[in-house]
């Protein structure tokens, strides 16, 4: 049986790769894609912990899996809204390049 720490380490690596994506991609949609990757890394850690908590009883252990289920549902809603925003921005600005969307500085 593979130890929990390996799964967590794998999760950390995926998370870091996702971070690289967020930082290096210039298109908003690609950044969004990378964020999904990071979200899944977190899910992986959660499932691994659920297995590690088996000794605490079924209710405590299954908390982790139930949380992943909820995160999945929220991710679905987030993607729908996020892509909706992107489409709206694209219509208005004809681009999704982040460097061209710098309006935080007045």
């Amino acid at each position: 049986m593979i130890g929990t720490e390996y799964y967590i380490a794998l999760s950390a690596i995926i998370f870091s790769i996702g971070t690289v994506g967020v930082l290096s991609r210039r298109s908003a949609i690609m950044v969004f894609l990378s964020i999904e990757l990071m979200l899944n890394a977190a899910n992986l850690a959660m499932v691994a912990f659920a297995r590690a908590w088996a000794s605490e009883g079924a209710l405590a252990a299954m908390n982790g899996q139930a949380a992943v289920f909820i995160i999945l549902a929220i991710a679905a809603a987030e993607v729908a809204v996020g892509l909706g925003i992107l489409v709206a921005i694209f219509r208005y600005r004809e681009t999704t390049e982040l460097d061209l969307l710098s309006e935080m500085r007045l």
Binding site: T19, V22, L23, R26, L98, D99, L101, S102, E103, M104, R105
Partner: protein
């Protein structure tokens, strides 16, 4: 039954809120009736508490809730309804109710009608809190509350600059006294470790405090009392306070608020009884005030100013009583003075109302035949304050004179000097009051044409309170007959609250009678002299006693205002101008260069804020990376 009285301030406060918030939308007499009803309810509660206290030795302490708690220091919103407080409550709400009724007619057609009643109710609430408070901070809340109401009501017609100035003057001079109160509270807490009045007084009797400490605390409380009760040299605000509506002068600046200082000292009487030197200062402050104010009152020409100086003088009497250790006598004089001084102010309000706003006594005279009821009640008030036998002022003033004569708190012989000064003051009191009455109601008519067309007796809503107050001015004195004639109800009632052990000399009965005869003679001399002087001098120019320097000195208010202007206000203004120059030249340049430096630095920092979201994300990720690296290789962060 007693505990119910704790809600009296709340009722008045609710009245104030109703009038303050909805008053604008109410038709004219309604706010007046609401306010009067609130005060009447408070009066009923006070009377219930009074009967509840019959035969009881201790007052009732009502804990409402704890509003301050810091470590060991706790302050409760608690009311101490005892024999002393209940007397004050009945004066405040009783006289207050009559004045509310009077005001409904007096303030008729005023644009600030509901605002006026809102302030008046707020005043009643604050004053009740002041007298019922069981701790100094709560008393201070009421103390400041009445100060604010006084400010608001003096400047009630704030459209005129003189009124607004008078209001500010009252407020600023009162601040000096409040400052004394605050320092006294600090020192009380430091020395006694409590701010609860009863606890503090209990500690005095255990007497672990140095006499010097007691005297310091007592003198600071005296400063507070001097500010609120307008004792010299902090009296200058009271004559100017007459800028407010006349019923306000009657309620706040004669009957109730200005007696708060007397009440404060009576409330903490054991402190003063334990410190003879502080008591002596109290007595001297009172003596000087009583004498000088009476002297100033001799030559004033404003109908209300005469009464204002008379109030000062009477407050001086009360302070003398306090200084002599005769605390019940001081409260007794508060009690009788509340009735006859409120009566005098209300009659002068009635006159001003009838004359269409005229306040100069030189333009009055002979009003008796136009307004008989006002004139008769004013005459009763005049006789009462002058000390004519069988009226209330006679008993209380005589008690003060007798106690000043027999006190053992003052060093030997000093009490005789005090007695003589008070006697002279009594003659002057009778003189200026007769002068006031004669110039207004008797003698030749000196009315202007408009005033003559306007003059009329006031409506019954105004004369009714006059009648009630006149009745009370006559009978109030019988509660405190001299000890050798009958049992003194007032003193034995207050003994339950004011527990001090001060002995007075017991002169033989023939001497007591002599003292009484002397004060009767003083009143008779004063009244007779004034009548003789003013009925002989008919021409207008002779209204003043003479044009001598001493008369001018009296007329100018003994030069206090001039002295303050030259000695305090002018130097303060000059210092302020100098500081303004310093501010503009030195501080501003320094500050603007500092601001310039901040601006430059901000411009530098602004470069980091690119507005590109990737930069922010990179910064965040970098921070996270550094954190985890540190945690991994240089030990746990926690």
């Amino acid at each position: 039954m007693i505990a119910l009285a704790a809600y009296a301030p709340l009722i008045a406060l609710v009245g104030a809120l109703i009038n303050g918030i909805f008053g604008r939308n109410l038709k004219e007499p309604l706010p007046g009736y609401i306010a009067s009803a609130a005060v009447f309810a408070a009066f009923v509660l006070s009377v219930m508490a009074f009967f509840g206290l019959q035969g009881q030795e201790h007052g009732s302490n009502v804990q409402l809730w704890q509003y301050l708690s810091a470590g060991n220091f706790k302050l409760n919103l608690a009311f101490n309804i005892d024999h002393l407080a209940v007397i004050m409550m009945m004066i405040i709400t009783g006289v207050g109710f009559l004045i509310h009724i009077y005001s409904i007619a007096y303030m008729h057609n005023d644009s600030g009608f509901s605002r006026y009643f809102s302030f008046l109710n707020l005043f009643i609430a604050s004053m009740l809190i002041l007298v019922m408070a069981d701790s100094f901070p709560l008393m201070f809340i009421g103390w400041e509350g009445v100060g604010v109401c006084s400010f608001l009501l003096i400047g009630f017609w704030y459209g005129i600059k003189a009124n607004a100035d008078a209001a500010r003057k009252a407020f600023i001079v009162n601040r000096i006294g409040d400052f004394g109160f605050l320092l006294a509270m600090f020192l009380t807490y430091k020395v006694f470790g409590t701010l609860n009045i009863a606890d503090m007084l209990g500690h005095i009797q255990v007497a672990r405090v140095l006499p010097a400490g007691l005297t310091a605390i007592a003198l600071l409380y005296l400063l507070a009392a001097m500010g609120k009760s307008a004792q010299m040299p902090l009296h200058v605000w009271l004559p100017d306070a007459m800028a407010g509506p006349t019923p306000v002068s009657a309620l706040i600046h004669a009957a109730t608020m200005v007696t708060a200082g007397v009440y404060l000292i009576a409330r903490i009487a054991p402190l003063f009884a334990a410190s003879p030197s502080a008591s002596m200062v109290v007595a001297w402050v009172g003596l000087i005030t009583a004498f000088v104010a009476a002297f100033i009152a001799l030559s004033q020409t404003d109908i209300k100013r005469i009464l204002a100086y008379s109030t000062l003088s009477q407050l001086g009497y009360m302070f003398v009583a306090l200084g002599c250790g005769a605390y019940w006598v001081a409260i007794f004089h508060v009690f009788t003075h509340a009735f006859f001084k409120a009566l005098l102010f209300l009659t002068s309000g009635s006159v001003i109302h009838a004359m269409g706003g005229e306040q100069d006594v030189e333009k009055m005279g002979g009003l008796h035949k136009y307004m008989k009821l006002t004139s008769i009640t004013a005459f009763i008030g005049t006789l009462a304050i002058a000390g004519v036998p069988f009226l209330s002022g006679f008993f209380s003033k005589d008690a003060i004179l007798a106690h000043a004569f027999t006190t053992t708190l003052a060093p030997v012989a000093l009490n005789y000097i005090a007695y003589i000064i008070l006697l002279v003051t009594a003659v002057m009191t009778a003189f200026y009051m007769m002068r006031w009455y004669y110039l207004v109601f008797l003698g030749k008519e000196r009315l202007s044409k408009e005033a003559k067309a306007h003059v009329h007796e006031s409506p019954s809503l105004m004369t009714m309170p006059l009648g009630v107050l006149a009745f009370l001015s006559v009978v109030a004195g019988y509660f405190g007959l001299p000890e050798f004639l009958a049992k003194n109800q007032f003193a034995s009632w207050l003994e339950n609250s004011i527990e001090v052990d001060i002995s007075f000399g017991h002169p033989p009965v023939w001497l007591e009678w002599t003292l009484i005869l002397i004060s009767v003679a003083a009143a008779a001399i004063g009244l007779g002299l004034a009548y003789w002087v003013y009925s002989r001098k008919k021409s207008k120019a002779m209204l003043r006693i003479s044009n001598s320097a001493i008369a001018k000195f009296s007329q100018s208010g003994a030069g206090f205002d001039g002295f303050y202007n030259a000695g305090i206000i002018k130097p303060a203004e000059e210092t302020a101008e100098g500081l303004a120059l310093l501010d503009a030249e030195v501080l501003d340049t320094g500050l603007s260069s500092l601001a310039l430096g901040v601006g430059l630095f901000a411009g530098l920092m602004r470069k980091i804020q690119t507005g590109y979201i990737r930069f922010y994300a990179l910064a965040m990720a970098l921070g996270f990376a550094v954190l985890v690296i540190l945690a991994a290789f240089w030990g746990k962060l926690s």
